[in-house]
Amino acid sequence: MELFSLFFSAVVINNVVLTKFLGMCPLLGVSRKTSSALGMGAAVVFVIFGSSVFTYILYYNVLVPLSLEYMDLITFILVIAAFVQFVELVLKKYSTVLYKALGIYLPLITTNCVVLYVTLINITEGFTFVEMVVYSLATPIGFMMVLYIFSTIRERLDYADVPNAFKGNPIALIVAAIMAGIFTSFVGLI
């Protein structure tokens, strides 16, 4: 039950995009089409889960015994960069279909702040291994959900008559404001 509430709160109530404002660049960048939103979302779920498990193990088995906790930031960002590169190479070699679907989004993920945020929160919140797994799956799923909803709205916005100054990103941010309003009303559900 506790794990479920952790999952639910990370997906909906404390949604990483709309309440923590992370991952704004992909939200504005790849939300023009639903297909690219889903591709980016899937790639983010995969990378966040993988790099979270990796950094968690690395932190508690290497950095803590050597009392090198202050190296966390440098280690994590390198692990993320290396992991993204590694996933790209593996996909390229073994699954051309998946690579074609996710390939172009992968390099962008290194600078997606959600990834670094999740790996840091796993440590600062003192999650157990199971909690860490649940949290690092739930957060990117929440990201993917918002990205998908956002892209369906933006596809229709293309046909709307928007004032000149608001064309492009400003109107998208207005949409985000309304969505944030909807999501803040979930507070208190659990």
Binding site: C25, L73, A81, L116, T124, N169, I178
Partner: protein, 213 residues
């Protein structure tokens, strides 16, 4: 006077935040009050200037294929140093900004300037560019935070982060007329959208002025 005006106009048109949409995650998240905005802004100015200097110094010995990881390590080291300094000397800022200090590593402005400017230019020019971009970023943060703080609480105040002594506090709007929603996510997105629209309106307007002349 005219050069100051030009500088301001350029700052507005080539603004990294409202014009190029770089580093907007932290802009949206921490601009609840002036203190946070200045704390974040000064940290970014310091990191951006020093990272531009270092990257410009090593630009000739960095192999091209692995330049991005090298830049990221340089930036992460500087961010960690700043984080530890803030934790030691300004705990109030550390408590307010929290996880957003380590997240400066993935602030696109810093990597963006390293890649676009410092890796191709000399040390002095890179330092100046870092300072310039950092100031533009800080001014954007201050603009956002002033609007949000005044509308949400009606008060503008500044507290010295090192001693926790309030430097000044001005009440502009009586508390029964404030709009608390502006300190939350809705206000953040709304303020940002309107400021970005304003900047884009000025940009759209500019070429027409030149044609008229």
């Amino acid at each position: 006077m005219k050069s100051i005006l030009n500088y301001g106009l350029n700052l507005l048109k080539e603004n990294p935040v409202f014009g190029l949409y770089l580093g907007i995650c932290s802009t949206l998240a921490i601009t609840i009050n002036l203190n946070n905005a200045l704390g974040m802004g000064v940290s970014v100015i310091a990191i951006l200037t020093v990272s531009n200097i270092i990257i410009s110094l090593i630009r000739n010995i960095t192999p091209d294929e692995i330049r991005i990881p090298v830049y990221i390590v340089v930036i992460a080291t500087l961010v960690k140093a700043v984080e530890l300094l803030i934790k030691a000397y300004a705990p109030a800022i550390d408590a307010a900004l929290g996880v957003f200090i380590p997240l400066i590593v993935v602030n696109c402005i810093i990597l963006g300037r390293a890649e676009a400017f410092a890796s191709k230019n000399g040390v002095a020019a890179s330092a100046l560019d870092g300072l310039n971009m950092g100031v533009a970023y800080t001014l954007s943060l201050v603009a956002m935070s002033l609007i949000r703080q005044i509308l949400a609480t009606g008060i503008v105040n500044f507290t010295n982060p090192f001693t926790n002594v309030e430097v000044f506090s001005v009440t502009l709007i009586p508390s029964q007329f404030t709009i608390p929603i502006f300190s939350g996510p809705i206000g953040a997105f709304l303020t940002f959208a309107l400021l970005a629209a304003g900047v884009s309106a000025i940009r759209n307007h500019q070429p027409k002025l030149k044609e008229a002349k």
